[in-house]
Amino acid sequence: MKTKLRSYGLFDYFNIVLMLFLGAICVLPLLHVVALSFSSSPAVLSNQVYFWPVEFTTAAYQRAFEDPQLLKSFWVSIKRVCLGVSIGLFVTCMAGYVLSKGGGRDGIAGHKFFIIFFIFALLFNGGLIPTYLLITNMGLYNSIWAIVLPGLTNVFYIILIMNFFSTLPKSLEESAFLDGANHFQVFYKIYLPLSVPVVATVGLFMVVFEWNEFFAGQIYMKADNVPLSTFIKSAITLPDFSTSDPEELQKLNFRSISSAQVVFAALPILALFPVLQKFFTRGIVIGGVKE
């Protein structure tokens, strides 16, 4: 491997400064929340905390974990991610495989129709009330499936995977067929192993989505069965100032506690990112790239 030595130009310096600046913009809010979570409540309230804890204390974490709902919700979120991502990835990859075959002799009948069908679903949806009625009338209310099934796959992900699959050489699959493989074997033994980057990338997207999405939990689940994201959402929502209930208003005090909850909820995703991030550059191919 050849390394090219050259001096830094003005552009490079400018670039470095710009990137450092952008990086700081992304990291500082996170640091701020971490600092809040380790600071004492009065310090937080009088706005003394920036990026370093003031009057360091772990009291906020103790208080946060005193609420049994935090761990219960954590468990619901874990279930949701496991089910949603494993089933979702499977369904998405299968759909991508079939659609990547195209129309014609080797492909599926009505290929164009299905593409349009999916694109249509990408652009339009049924709306909140019909979706709510569908879910509740199917008896999914307050079941984990109510938050897993509706977001199981995403047309955008299918297109990502479909495009990746169609860049794989046709000859691989043809030789497999000659050796007597069927479609499922080809999919499972040839396409999937060759597509780790895109599958990992889409998987990461799904994990992040399932972890962060709060609205479904808010609507379809009972209060003691909500995923972590919904729990945090309601924990950090500020009370309505028009109430004259001091207890309610005191909730503002709890900024350090909700920061602790936010930090706790962010940890799994933060831990997962560096592991899967290396697939990113190779994984996302939307279209137009040939071998």
């Binding site: 009088s46 009625l133 509740t136 199917m138 209060a223 500020l238 028009s242």
Partner: protein, 571 residues
């Protein structure tokens, strides 16, 4: 030929899809009908068999539960299974089934309820709603029962008497001359504002607390010019007022309506003018003088950045120790002042009566007198209705009880600890009133206020007084008077009820009128902009006259007419 084949397959799939969908919807129809039929097959008794306050056999009521933020639980308890629900089950013979629960603060409760109503789902037997928009939607949906008859028939005398004290509490639930929900009263008389002053600053300067606007200016001048927090910067706020989201914000500290009220009008609310018709406070001529004074004070540095200040920002200022004076209800000492004491134990705020104005007509906003209301499914059975009133009547019966601690079954260990026949305060009380099925405890304002003042003055409390305090679990408050903050709070309660200032509620509690729906946002915006521009000296005071003229011509006049039509229809 090939094309044709494909086309056939396509059609085939479509037909199949439609078939599947059809099958699904049929199945849905049968399943959703099931609970309905079993419900109606119950036999309908007209009177309940009540033995020792317990309904026999037990009756089941369905509801939906809104979780009030900050609700505390013991281990293993929840909104739907706690000391109170167990008490309801064991003592009253009412089983409560909660169809779903959701948080009130983040809006998920109203979101879910809206979806349920829009989706024409079966409503529970009863439920409480504390949201104006939702109430209007429910009344318009035709899915809720009008309560006039039931309330007349089943409510106890005490319950009726308590509600008779605030006839205007019903207004917001009325349509076509009928009442559609029973209001939950809120105790607000004790929540009138007083002026909180940094006593340590006053003492340092050797000043007296101001009793009128002239003296107030002298104190503000001193607070502004002397560096009282001793940080070498001129950053103290002699008087905290708030203009965000509106001027004349009431109840929550910093209470600002009192300032405008010194001149004789309160912005943003509707109240009866001289002829008894409702007028809109923001466009009254008295406001002009108030704005001139504010402009003057702003220039002299007597007040904070009023246009940007709201409760949130003022809490921060108070906690940093910058604020010299602010108006607020008696609990201001607990929060936000209590927060300041954690960092600066020497800071001392004391309550004083609001300074008097020059017109002799001193007013301020009185907070909402309701905490929402209880709605009933229009198909609720007579039996279940009686069961609900049995619950409410029992709660209200504490006001006529010889035993103030008749609720200790669910209050003991939550609001107070019962020791040797007496309640004692506990460290971190859990407010059991947040478990109430109607979202709030039984409130009988006059009795409650009497008892609170007696307690505040340290007078001997009779059983009747104790019962009133116990009804709202105010008994948890340190009755022996050892807690200094509680002493100050008591003092504030006395001052608030004895000062000359008059509290005026917002009389308009109906749904937005037609003109309001179209124009109100615009009118509000121009109002707030005009006020801000005048206070900050960007526009001359004449801008106010122009605004008033515009206000009337671009919808205000129609809105006033509509508001009065509504008022005539309910009062």
């Amino acid at each position: 030929m090939k094309m044709k084949g494909k086309f056939l397959i396509l059609i085939f799939t479509l037909v199949l899809l439609i078939g599947i969908l059809g099958a699904c919807s049929k199945k849905d129809a049968t399943t959703s009908e099931d609970p309905g039929t079993s419900d109606s097959s119950e036999d309908k008794g007209v009177t309940l068999n009540i033995v020792d306050g317990k309904i026999e056999p037990a009756i089941t009521l369905t509801t939906i539960s809104a979780e009030i933020s900050g609700t505390g639980y013991r281990e293993g308890e929840s909104l739907t299974n706690n000391a109170h629900t167990r008490w309801v089950e064991e003592k009253l013979g009412i089983n409560i089934e909660s169809q779903w629960q959701a948080s009130l603060a983040d809006g998920s409760f109203s979101e879910k309820l809206k979806l349920a109503v829009a989706g024409k789902q079966e409503l529970p037997d009863f439920f409480w709603v504390n949201d104006h928009q939702l109430s209007t939607m429910l009344i318009e949906s035709g899915l809720v029962m009008s309560v006039d008859e039931a309330f007349d028939k089943y409510a106890s005398d005490t319950y009726k008497a308590a509600l008779a004290e605030s006839p205007e509490a019903w207004y917001q639930f009325m349509a076509d001359g009928k009442k559609f929900a029973i209001p939950n009263l809120s105790e607000n008389k004790g929540g009138q504002p007083v002026l909180w002053i940094r006593q340590d600053w006053l003492d340092k300067l050797g000043l007296q607390a101001p009793t009128n606007m002239k003296e107030l200016e002298i104190v503000m001048e001193a607070f502004a010019s002397q560096d009282l927090d001793g940080n070498g910067k001129k950053d103290t706020t002699p008087l905290a007022l708030a203009g965000d989201p509106w001027y004349g914000m009431g109840q929550v500290p910093p209470e600002t309506s009192w300032f405008f009220g010194r001149f004789g009008a309160i912005p943003q609310i509707w109240y009866p003018g001289e002829d008894g018709k409702l007028v809109y406070g923001s466009v009254q001529p008295e406001i002009k003088d108030a704005l001139v004074t504010l402009r003057d004070w702003k220039a002299k540095g007597y007040i904070n950045e009023i246009a940007l200040s709201n409760f949130n920002t003022v809490v921060k200022e108070v906690t940093t120790g910058n604020v010299g004076m602010l108006a607020g209800p008696q609990w201001t000492i607990k929060y936000p002042i209590g927060m300041l004491l954690q960092t600066n134990p020497d800071a001392r705020y004391m309550p004083y009566p609001l300074p008097t104005g020059e017109t002799g007509n001193d007013i301020h906003v009185l907070g909402k007198d309701t905490l929402g209301g209880v709605f009933f499914n229009k198909d609720i059975s007579e039996e279940k209705l009686q069961a609900f009133f049995h619950y409410q009547n029992t709660l209200y019966s504490i006001y006529e009880s010889e035993d103030p601690y008749m609720f200790k079954d669910f209050q003991d260990g939550y609001d107070y600890a019962f020791k040797d026949g007496k309640p004692t305060s506990i460290e971190n009380p859990i407010q059991s009133q947040k478990y109430m099925l109607t979202g709030s405890p039984p409130v009988y304002n006059s009795k409650l206020l009497d008892a609170m003042i007696k307690a505040a003055k340290g007078e001997e409390l009779s059983n009747v007084d104790l019962a009133a305090l116990a009804s709202n679990a105010f008994i948890n408050v340190d009755l022996d008077g050892k807690n200094p903050l509680k002493m100050i709070e008591n003092q504030a309660t006395i001052i608030a009820t004895e000062q000359d200032s008059v509290g005026i509620p917002n009389y308009f509690t109906g749904p937005p009128t037609k003109t309001m729906e179209r124009r109100w946002e615009m009118l509000n915006r121009s109002e707030i902009e005009t006020y801000t521009d005048i206070i900050y000296g960007k526009k001359p005071i004449e801008a106010f006259d122009e605004f008033v003229e515009n206000w009337y011509s671009s919808g205000g006049e129609d809105a006033t007419k509509e508001v009065n039509e509504w008022y005539d229809s309910v009062k």
